[in-house]
Amino acid sequence: MRTAELQLDLETFSGPFDLLLTLVLREEIDLMDVDLGEVVIAYVEHLERTGELDLEATTEFLVLIAALLELKSRLLLPREEDEVELGPHDAADELLARMLEYRRYRDAAAHLVELFAAERPHLYRSAPLPVALRRVSLEAARPSYAPEQLGEALGGLLRVPPAPDVSHIRPTVSLERRLRVLREVLGRAKRFSFDEMFADEDRLTQAVTLFALLELHRRGEATWEQPEVLGPIEIVRSP
């Protein structure tokens, strides 16, 4: 759709957009009375309805509405005594100048796009400088840091923090519950891998589970095998 054909139904005007434009330019409608916000809303609604975005037409609309907004904002501001009043032709000239200026950069943009496409097959190296160029050479090095800074950093590392108050933290993993989980699993399977079964648990849960396992072992309910140090642990139900 051409911008001109946008149908408007405003308080002060009902009809196509280009008619509104002309009436404003000929001062048959006072721009002060036109709610330009509603024009924009009408346009957006129209776009939503049709679901298609004609970039050319949209750009044209935006340039025109922006020009109208600027004209209106001038009308709203107090006028200087000696400033000549904007006649319809002045406004049209203003609008025309605006469109010409825009077209110039639109065409310059097309030229840039061509340049860019022509250069795109050329690629540039982007690699860090060799290490030797990134640091001071030993010969050129001058004292730049104070050794005391190292002493101070070390002193800070020697500071032992006060023991934190843990009275408000309650253990969230109970040994009883982990014992129950282990017995449940052993009820289903005669043997299973600790790692596979509990890989997704957090470290605390894993640790308490391991502790629960010791308890099962002590009570003779299960044994475990770990053929190599740090290797997988196999849990076996005691017969």
Binding site: L55, L100, Y105, L112, V113, R125, P130
Partner: protein, 193 residues
């Protein structure tokens, strides 16, 4: 004394290492040679690295010299480096870039005024792609933009003066007259009907 051929080797190495284009003056200073000597070396190098001869070519960009790969290697290079083709510029980005290139330094409100739309996202993308950069603030506190050396490099420009005269893009008087008439008449007819 360093011969032009030996100086050409050094210049090639410097251009290989430098991430930015390097001017003849900078090369001369680094090599402790005169600009004339470096220019002779550059001529030797330009000949050796003429288009179609090797895998890299010598290019002039952003007021200096730089090395780039020959287009013959583009497809294998994108495969090796898993680098997708840089996306082309959108219409909004190209228009914004054209405005910055010709009017720099230029503020964002000025860009928006010319384009008739807020150009925030185009400005952000161009900044992110390193084609434009902030160059301070206007009297009114708006951020102002200019193009970067990368822009000149990627668009094959030796300098900004290589941009075509913008009057080249002005419409002919006929087109201008037609636009003007359309503007005044379109509604008149409607008003009468």
């Amino acid at each position: 004394m360093t011969t032009a051929v030996e100086l050409a080797r050094i210049v090639e190495a410097l251009l290989f290492l430098s991430p930015e284009p390097v001017s003849v003056a900078e090369l001369a200073e680094a090599c402790e040679s005169s600009e004339a000597q470096v220019q002779s070396a550059v001529d030797v190098l330009a000949d050796e690295l003429a288009e179609g001869r090797r895998g890299v070519v010598l290019k002039e960009a952003a007021g200096g010299l730089t090395l780039a790969t020959d287009p013959v290697a583009e497809t294998p290079a994108r495969r090796l480096l898993a680098r997708p083709r840089t996306p082309p510029l959108t219409q909004a980005q190209a228009e914004t870039l054209a405005i910055v290139a010709y009017l720099q330094p230029v503020s964002r409100p000025e860009i928006a005024r010319i384009r008739g739309v807020s150009s925030e996202s185009a400005v952000a993308t161009l900044t992110e792609r390193g084609l434009i950069e902030e160059s301070g603030r206007s009297r009114f506190g708006a951020v102002i933009y200019r193009t970067t050396p990368l822009f000149e490099k990627l668009f094959g420009l030796r300098g900004l003066d290589q941009l075509p005269d913008p009057s080249r893009f002005d419409p002919t008087p006929e087109v201008e007259g037609e636009l003007r008439e359309r503007l005044l008449r379109a509604g008149e007819q409607r008003a009468e009907s």
